[in-house]
Symmetry: C2
Subunit: 287 residues, 2 copies
């Protein structure tokens, strides 16, 4: 673990180590005592570690290893999911990344089970999958807005746990991140999106309706954490009022997940010396 | 166009402006008179221009614009396709990127038309799609190895032109890049992959069999350029012995493609002043 961290990020941020969502301080920086500048420098340094580990995962995937990593990002509007994708996932070779945003389900998606679109987007072996929102929307927005009755959403927690167990057994390491901001910080970020024409596209008037349901969302998130945080597929709660901390924390969570795979470069499936001699003996095939 | 370029990249690199593949100098730097250091600095600078343009494309995609860009990368093994993905596409927000590598077709893929797997991987509106190899394999490796008779691959050039016309009419701007290296440079790069265990996974003994068919591949590439370079879906031939030039050139080709779309930030579909007032009036929904 690097300078500034007093507790490894996965330990400090695990849902069970954090206060309830409604009591969490979104400006806190669990496990990290460095300041913003230190945090930013560290994120930049650790980005190369993350990229190297991901390349090793990808190399193994090409060599028959079935493992993958799936980052699940959940949070209220403006929590910074897009920023994590751009600044943390952006450090990784696009070759090994599979990114999916889950918006309001399309008509086709609605005609299927809610996990249908999720299964279609799962990372392939060697990939870092990134879900910007996910199957958890089906126990968050769906629950808050009563889009289906409790008798329908209530069994979903167990169903999700079973689904994720299946993913883990198939070789996918899940990193589930709940990003928590304060209403005050959200207000600042919403206002920012209305200052310049190049930000308007990120603003949606309906986000204000969701904001009005903040306590309901807090309760829904709390239920998610209580019912779907498992040792196999843990939830991390990342206070997200400070963007620099969010990005540092997710970088560390991904590094820890990749390190837990104990990856090595795949051994050559050919005789290295023989191939070296073959290559050394190559002549110009065009002459 | 930036310092160092005497001719805009799309003009200098267009297939029709270049010598035949067999006569091309893979160390040449068409249109660019700067040295390696200048080229590298320029690539870094222009990466932010590329990222900004792509963000604008993505923003428009979110606002109903159907347009997308598709980068098609073709080239012999070690030509640097992966390097372009990592270093050029890597500059773009992963949120707006859709990357697909096309390897040897799977059994399921072989049971379908060769364009089936291609259609499934097309970029969505607002995305930069990247194909590492593509439908052109079906007139390259397939032709060189006689995997199907000429009566089958021969009609594919026209079919590909029709397919690409369909893509263009659907709003996709194609940037097709043929990366040309010399056998000498390939030998160096193959040897490099055998020097360290972290490179072994990139080495495949069968690449040497493909190399032995170099003249046949040159002829197959030449046919591709002659029969599928169209004004709607142009081919660019990028000499690729110098990695820095390849990356600079593809950066410029993508920038030019995005600039040709004449993108603007999408206008707000709400009343900005009204929303500013609504946001300013927001109170804490939890208290």
């Amino acid at each position: 673990m690097s300078t500034g961290w007093t507790t490894p990020a996965p330990d400090a941020l695990r849902a069970t180590a954090q206060p309830r969502v409604a009591e969490l301080d979104p400006r806190s920086t669990p496990g990290f005592i460095g300041d913003k500048k230190t945090g930013q420098l560290l994120t930049a340094q650790r980005a190369t570690v993350l990229a190297d580990l991901q390349e090793m995962l990808y190399a193994n995937g090409r060599s028959g290893d079935r493992r993958s990593v799936l980052l699940v990002l959940q949070g209220m509007d403006t929590a910074g999911k897009g920023g994590v994708v751009k600044h943390v996932v952006g450090a990784v070779d696009p070759q090994g990344v599979s990114h999916t945003s889950f918006g309001v389900p399309t008509e086709e998606e609605r005609s299927h089970h809610y996990l249908w679109r999720i299964r279609k987007a799962l990372p392939r072996p060697g990939q870092l999958g990134v879900f910007d929102r996910s199957h958890y929307e089906d126990v968050l927005v769906v629950r808050v807005h009563n889009l289906v009755p409790p008798s329908v959403w209530e069994p979903r927690y167990d169903e999700i746990n079973a689904f994720e167990r299946e993913l883990v057994e198939g070789g996918t390491t899940l990193v589930k991140v709940a990003m928590v901001i304060s209403p005050a910080e959200q207000k600042v970020r919403l206002a920012e999106r209305l200052t310049q024409p190049d930000k308007y596209w990120k603003y949606n008037p309906r986000d204000l309706d969701e904001r009005a349901l903040w306590p309901e969302y807090q309760a829904a998130y709390q239920a998610v954490l209580e019912r779907t945080d498992t040792d196999l597929a843990p939830w991390y709660v990342v206070p997200s009022d400070r963007k620099w901390y969010t990005r540092l924390a997710v970088t560390e969570l991904l590094i820890a997940a990749l390190q837990s795979l104990d990856l090595r470069w795949p051994p050559a499936d050919f005789d290295v010396e023989v191939e070296q001699q073959r290559v050394a003996a190559l002549t110009d095939p065009t002459s």
